[in-house]
């Protein structure tokens, strides 16, 4: 009997704790919990590769670009907008860079970085101007941006181009050992876990954005505008500029994402970055960003990307290699998270 009451007390405390959390923090907690449970589950039941630490780091290596793109999208989505041009911009950046570098190793890599950021910035600025100052729906503006970017990519070149630039290849092959994460493989050889340079850049972006969103006036303005733009205006926030900057930031990150794609894949192709915008949106949502704006967390987005990647790996390791199984699972997962979000938002108001 006594036991029972202490149980209900605990339950009450638990629900109170949840009740007092902000939507952003609650969704973040849910995302991280889901990811950890999923990964532990995979380690327990699927074993194999999941037991080696490199599996986790390889997941980051593969998804550095997606992390950066999803970060940009989170910012736009928190502000209440959307950007579906990011995949197209990524593809355009890789193609332009590949064509610029060609087989000539004497060209500067910094120019490539400049090309990447320049293209991203250009898309961000134009789209931002249209969305913020001409009040056009962000979906339409960035849809146009996506078509434009894809079209431009094929104008630059239609054939996949491998990069043979020495400096860039050296960067691509640089492996950074993760200390304390060595493991023994099936041939009894001790191996070190490593990450690529792109992962460090992506994690740096996550860190910077986390700080910006949490502790700067601009970051909080993103939340305010996404929460209620009319109110934000009355509270003295420059709503147009805030929307504009969110798109600029997203465009810039899409450009950087293209550079990281190059560092990982080492080639330019019209198909590069295809579907990345949708994966980035999905990651953002799984990470607890709401399409309606005002709610979201960049750490959540990071876990959104890893969750998405993990579920894909799990489906593949479970013997369901066909593409549609991944699609079905991801669709189901997205749906689940949208339901969770609507429950969180519909929580009984105190």
């Amino acid at each position: 009997m006594e036991n029972k009451t202490s149980n209900t007390n605990f339950f009450k405390k638990f629900t109170n704790k949840i009740g007092s959390m902000t939507e952003t923090n609650l969704l973040l907690t849910i995302t991280i919990t889901v990811f950890v449970l999923m990964y532990l589950g995979a380690m327990l039941f699927l074993q194999g590769g999941f037991l080696t630490p490199q599996n986790f780091f390889q997941m980051l290596n593969e998804n550095a670009t997606l992390i950066v793109l999803a970060c940009g999208l989170s910012v736009v989505m928190i502000t209440g907008g959307i950007d579906i041009s990011v995949g197209g911009v990524t593809g355009l950046v890789t193609m332009c860079s590949a064509v610029y570098l060609g087989e000539d190793s004497s060209k500067s890599m910094w120019v490539v970085l400049l090309i990447a950021l320049g293209i991203g910035l250009a898309f961000g600025v134009v789209q931002g101007l249209l969305v913020a100052y001409l009040d056009i729906q962000p979906f339409i503006v960035t849809l146009a941006g996506m078509f434009f970017a894809k079209g431009m990519t094929t104008i630059v070149s239609t054939k996949p181009t491998d990069i043979k630039h020495e400096g860039l290849m050296a960067l691509k092959d640089t492996k950074i050992v993760v200390p304390g994460m060595s493991y023994v493989n099936s041939h009894d050889i001790r191996l070190d876990s490593y990450v690529e340079i792109g992962v460090l850049i992506a994690l740096f972006v996550v860190l910077v954005l986390f700080v910006v969103l949490r502790w700067t006036k601009l970051g909080r303005s993103f939340y305010a505008v996404g929460g209620n733009s009319q109110s934000a205006l009355m509270l003295g926030i420059n709503v147009k500029r805030t929307k504009f900057l969110s798109h600029v930031l997203c465009g810039l990150l899409a450009g950087l994402g293209g550079f990281l794609f190059l560092l990982h894949a080492g080639s330019g192709s019209p198909s590069n970055g295809g579907g990345y915008e949708m994966n980035a949106i999905a990651s953002s949502i799984i990470g607890g960003t709401m399409l309606t704006g005002g709610v979201g967390n960049i750490i959540g987005t990071l876990f959104g990307v890893t969750s998405l990647s993990t579920i894909k790996t799990i489906v593949a390791s479970a013997g369901l290699q066909d593409g549609w199984w991944t699609g079905i699972t991801v669709g189901f997962m997205l749906c689940l998270f949208l339901v969770i979000q609507s429950i969180v938002v519909g929580r009984k108001k105190k």
Binding site: T22, L218, G219, Y223, A224, G226, G236, K349
Partner: protein
């Protein structure tokens, strides 16, 4: 007392409308000043001129004796004029503290610790039951409103404008808000209080300024303006004159007939207090009261247009279930809504289709009328009501307001209801049509239909209704019939201070 805010000779016009004509307004330090007037009197326009949403055409605004020019809400905030609107203008996804400080700090970096500390201090000093770190959306509307006030207070505002702050609060919340208002008053803040709740005005205000038709009627202290005087000033009817107007109300023709529709203890989610109501066969009665007193909400509850939260509706003594308007229509109740543009006409459909709409709904959409039937109905009522239209095929939106109204009236008459509710059927239409409609109402009643007639024009109500239900602040406060049916009695009952008038 020092004058904080002084407006002189303010003019403002919009195309075709003189919204403000030479209005003066003075707010003193540490007073709560109610701004009263019916809808369209110019209250909102005046507030918007003060807050910089509109720019005035003429006149001067002075703050502490110095003339100021206010061009935007931001300008107003800078000089110390803050406004808390009816709809909360804060961000529900941010914390209470953030809502108090966002958009005000100059530094690019946010210091959470200090902000939360400062916010808690202010919340405590104003006795607002919220924590700085709480998400605003989890607070009640009343607390959210208080947070908005706290923000204004912390911005060191001299003038605080509360625009209909109590319309979505319950009684306890209103009491809390009033306590906060009195605290601020003690600190020397001048408060402009806009509301349509009379009781609340008399509870907290020191002074009242009355506007009517964009003109200043006068400024009074609460003590020198009894309620009935206030009502007469708002409506623009002189009390002495009104005593002479003898009621032209017809006797209740069928006095002992059965109650056709009866509502017991009815209330809806629109905030009206539970009320009882009945109507006899062949009777015309009405709801009266100031705008916003809950007249429409009452009839909407009967018709099932709002969600009913308690009470029953009986027809001929038997309880009927009305959950949605279609239930009411099937029970023989027709309702002509207050705003024909929103609830009534389907602008792009023809006059004919608009007329047969309600009957079609009752018959079911899968059993359409033949073209011949529809034409017959439409032509009959176009003739009967004298609707001026090029043809039955003309889109209804190209008709004048009065003729649109007649079409909607025709729509309900076609369903041959036993009980017809007309909510402001004569608003915005010309005098001739008004009289047509009044005559028609009386004719229908003499044929045995029961009609509830609601109008802002008391004359009209007196001419048509044999019994009036009087409302104040969403409560039924009285019922008048027979000899009591005259302007003076109506006003006394609305004001709720019958003794004032008699004294």
């Amino acid at each position: 007392m020092n004058k904080v805010l002084e407006l002189k000779n303010i003019h403002k016009s919009f195309p075709g409308v003189l919204a403000l004509q030479g209005v003066d307004f003075t707010l003193r330090e540490g007073e709560i000043h109610a701004l009263m007037g019916e809808n369209g009197a110019g209250k909102s326009t005046l507030i918007k001129v003060i807050t910089g949403v509109y720019t005035k055409d003429e006149g001067t605004i002075s703050l502490n004796g110095k003339e100021v020019s206010i061009k935007s809400p931001q300008d107003a905030q800078k000089v110390g004029i803050s406004t808390v609107y009816q709809e909360i203008t804060l961000c529900p996804n941010l914390s209470v503290a953030e809502n108090m400080y966002i958009g005000r700090t100059k530094s690019a970096v946010q210091n959470w610790g200090k902000m939360n500390e400062d916010a808690d201090k202010i919340l405590q000093s104003l006795d607002i039951p919220a924590k700085a770190t709480q998400q605003l959306g989890t607070c009640s509307i009343a607390v959210q409103q208080m947070v908005a006030i706290a923000r204004a207070v912390d911005m060191d505002c001299k003038v605080l404008i509360l625009d209909e702050p109590t319309s979505s609060l319950d009684e306890q919340e209103v009491a809390k808000l009033f306590k906060l208002m009195r605290d601020l008053k003690a600190r020397g803040v001048g408060i402009i209080f806009v509301t349509h709740f009379m009781d609340q005005v008399y509870e907290v205000s020191d002074r009242i300024t009355v506007l009517r038709d964009g003109k200043l009627v006068g400024e009074y202290t609460v003590a020198e303006l009894p309620r009935v005087q206030l009502v007469s000033k708002m409506l623009g009817k002189d009390l002495d004159d009104m005593a002479d107007i003898k009621s032209e109300a017809p006797e209740s023709q069928v006095a002992d007939s059965a109650k056709v529709i009866e509502a017991v203890n009815l209330s809806s989610d629109q905030g009206i207090k539970p009320f009882d109501f009945y109507i006899n066969k062949g009777e015309v009665n009405g709801f009266t009261g100031l705008l916003g007193s809950g007249r429409s909400e009452c009839v909407r509850a009967i018709f099932g247009a709002d969600r009913v939260t308690s009470g029953v509706v009986k027809k001929n003594g038997k309880e009927i279930k009305i959950k949605k308007p279609l239930d009411a229509m099937k029970a023989g109740i027709g309702y002509l809504p207050e705003d024909r543009k929103i609830d009534g006409i389907v602008g792009d459909l023809s006059v004919r289709d608009n007329i047969i709409l309600a009957l079609q709904v009752m018959k079911g959409f899968f059993k359409p009328f033949t073209k011949a039937e529809a034409n017959k109905f439409a032509d009959e009522y176009i003739k009967l009501l004298g609707i001026k239209t090029a043809s039955a095929d003309t889109p209804i939106k190209s008709l004048s307001g009065g003729n649109q109204q007649k079409c909607i009236l025709a729509r309900w008459l076609l369903t041959n209801p036993e009980y017809l509710i007309l909510d402001e059927p004569t608003r915005g239409i010309d005098v001739g049509t008004k009289i047509d409609i009044q005559k028609l109402v009386l004719k229908l009643a003499s044929e045995g239909m029961s009609v509830t007639f609601i109008s802002s024009e008391t004359d009209e109500m007196l001419r048509t209704c044999s019994r009036l239900v009087v409302m104040r602040d969403r409560k039924v406060v009285g019922e008048l019939k027979g000899d009591d049916l005259n302007q003076t009695m109506i006003m006394n009952t609305i004001a709720g201070g019958a003794s004032d008038a008699e004294a």
